[in-house]
């Protein structure tokens, strides 16, 4: 159909893999951060909120460079990580970290709104019925925030698919290892006659994005129907 070359297929699968891993790995942290920001009061909350949102407002290249400083082979934590067998720089895992960091604020924002919109008295009711705070979180808060959690995950996934600046700064643009769809399109535009390849991958990117959006819409609608707020 599109006659994609093996290299292009590699870039597509790599993009999907990075985006899926980035989303799933950041999900628990995202939910926790969102819940903490929505419900808890703790010292330094504003600073914590600022750090979570930093990747949203910083130039992506700066975020990528900070990751390089922190997690690169000669970085602050990179040496320690390398000692326990985790190498992130110039690996697809590093790309996943960069994508997770970039998508994190989007994920947390959506989930936080969702937690905040839950009637607190439902959580209080759960407490008076004998549920501990942890049980209340899993039995009441989390199910009620589910639509927002789906939205947050989709946003993070979409961001991860399109991430370019931080990824290329942190893990470069290595075909077969760190070259995602975005990076591959960029490479195509840098060589004469690359437009056709760039166009093919653009079509793929549009297809993936649309599929994701439709899937999230369906999941969300089902969740809302379950919560009975469709009337």
């Amino acid at each position: 159909m599109l006659n994609l070359s093996p290299d292009e297929w590699t870039a597509i699968w790599l993009s999907l893999r990075i985006a899926v891993v980035a989303t799933i790995a950041s999900l628990p942290f995202g939910i926790l951060a969102a819940y903490a920001l929505a419900r808890w009061r703790f010292p330094g909350k504003m600073i914590f909120n600022g750090i979570v949102h930093l990747p949203l407002v910083l130039p992506p290249v700066v975020t990528g460079f900070v990751l390089l400083i922190l997690l690169g082979r000669k970085g602050v934590f990179g040496g320690f990580l390398a000692d326990i067998g985790i190498v992130l720089s110039f690996r697809w895992t590093g790309a996943a970290v960069a994508c997770a960091v970039m998508g994190f604020p989007l994920m947390v924002r959506a989930m936080r709104l969702s937690f905040e919109s839950i009637d607190k008295r439902l959580e209080l009711a759960s407490g008076t019925l004998g549920a501990s705070p942890i049980a209340t979180f899993f039995l009441v808060s989390l199910p009620l925030a589910f639509p927002g959690i789906v939205v947050g995950a989709i946003l993070a996934f979409a961001k991860a698919l399109g991430e370019f600046g931080a990824t290329i700064t942190f893990v470069s643009n290595i075909p077969g290892e760190t070259q995602t769809i975005s990076a591959a399109i960029y490479s195509f535009t840098q060589v004469p006659g690359g437009d056709a390849g760039a166009l093919r991958l653009t079509a793929v990117a549009v297809f993936i994005a649309l599929t994701t959006l439709i899937a999230s819409e369906i999941v969300q609608r089902q969740a809302e129907r379950r919560l009975g707020s469709f009337e």
Partner: protein, 367 residues
């Protein structure tokens, strides 16, 4: 046995409440902003007092002096909110079983089927809360709290969001819960009718302070308490006994040392003690024995107080054999009849003004 002695200051509002009650329903009565819901939240553990203690059956739930605070989920106190607050993502059955799941197995004394049957919610089990009416939701909320097998049930104005018809459906259910499930209840309300009908013990709160404590007749039967209410909410509470019935006319006879009342409809077997609320605007006063009237209900007593209010007067009568009867009459009628404190007087009340809504059966003695 619930013992409360707490103080809490919150955003300019100061609450100081102390009371204790061993049996039946404890009503926290007051207007909005009186601190009654705040007190309830302190009992449930949703707020911490600045000072004082709350004990249930001798065990402290919170005691600032001793540094005790039991978190809400360990208190085993069921709370019924004004707007039910059912979990929207769970079915009615899952809502009902939610609290039960967390109750220790050996303490699950309250039977699921008995609660379902009492509340008449068997047909709702598979539904979701979004598909229930307001009255149905509140029944399920009562069931949910009850099935957590609590040591104490709290009601926070459970009928305030319902229309009159729904209220009349739910009130008998709360009475049934009171009489059959052996769970002490603290009931918050600003409705005298609800409080008189349900509670044996009333704590009146006003601006964060306890203003009166005692049985409903004592608490509401004072001139000061009456003058707080608007003209149409002023009422007397009479303790009476069922003494007979007239089946052919569907009437029940109630006895009082000062006379008898006929009530439309049943009120229980002969000997049952009932509390009757008589609105002050439904009482007609007569000097001497009245002639031919359609009124069957006459109570005799002596005038003890007059409170003039514009064109109207609130007349307080001490009934023969105890109890006070309040009547709102016009100043014109007062002067024409020449009513003065100390005069013998007869209070007449229409049977049609006494309906089953005005009647409460105090909790029967246990055992």
């Amino acid at each position: 046995m619930i013992e409360v002695d707490v103080a809490l200051a919150m955003g300019g509002f100061k609450l100081e409440a102390a009371f204790q009650n061993a049996d039946g329903i404890t009503a926290l009565f007051g207007h909005s902003g009186s601190g009654k819901s705040l007190t309830l939240n302190l009992i449930a553990g949703l707020l911490r007092p600045d000072r004082g203690y709350i004990r249930l059956d001798g065990n402290p739930l919170v005691d600032r002096e001793r540094g005790v605070f039991v978190p809400p989920h360990r208190r085993r106190i069921g709370l019924v909110f004004q707007d039910s607050h059912l979990f929207p993502h769970l079915s009615v059955k899952q809502n009902l079983l939610f609290g039960r799941f967390f109750a220790p197995r050996r303490e699950r004394a309250i039977d699921f089927d008995a609660v379902i049957e009492t509340l008449g919610i068997a047909s709702l089990l598979a539904r979701h809360p979004a598909r229930l009416s307001g009255g149905e939701r509140q029944r399920v909320a009562i069931g949910r709290a009850l099935l957590s097998c609590p040591k104490l049930l709290l009601f926070d104005e459970p009928l305030a969001a319902l229309d009159m018809q729904r209220k009349l459906e739910i009130l008998p259910l709360i009475e049934h819960v009171r009489d059959h499930f052996q769970v002490p209840i603290v009931y918050v309300s600003h409705s005298i009718e609800e409080v008189v009908r349900l509670a044996a013990f009333v704590v009146v709160l006003d601006a964060g302070k306890v203003k009166a404590i005692g049985g409903p007749a004592e608490v509401f039967g004072t001139v000061a308490a009456q003058l707080e209410e608007t003209r149409f909410d002023r009422s007397s509470i009479l303790t009476m006994w069922v003494s007979g019935e007239d089946a052919s006319y569907g009437l029940t006879q109630l006895m009082h040392p000062s006379g008898t009342l006929w009530l439309a409809g049943p009120a229980g077997p002969v000997g049952t003690e009932v509390r009757v609320i008589v609105k002050a605007t439904d009482v007609v006063l007569a000097v001497g024995k009245p002639g031919h009237l359609s009124i069957r209900n006459a109570l005799s007593g002596r005038v003890v107080g007059l409170e003039r209010e514009g064109a109207l007067v609130l007349v307080e009568t001490a009934l023969d054999g105890g109890g006070n009867l309040f009547a709102m009459i016009s100043r014109h009628a007062l002067d024409e009849l020449g009513i003065a404190p100390g005069d013998p007087i007869i209070g007449l009340i229409k049977t049609a003004a006494l309906d089953e809504r005005r009647i409460s059966r105090p909790r029967p003695a246990l055992g």
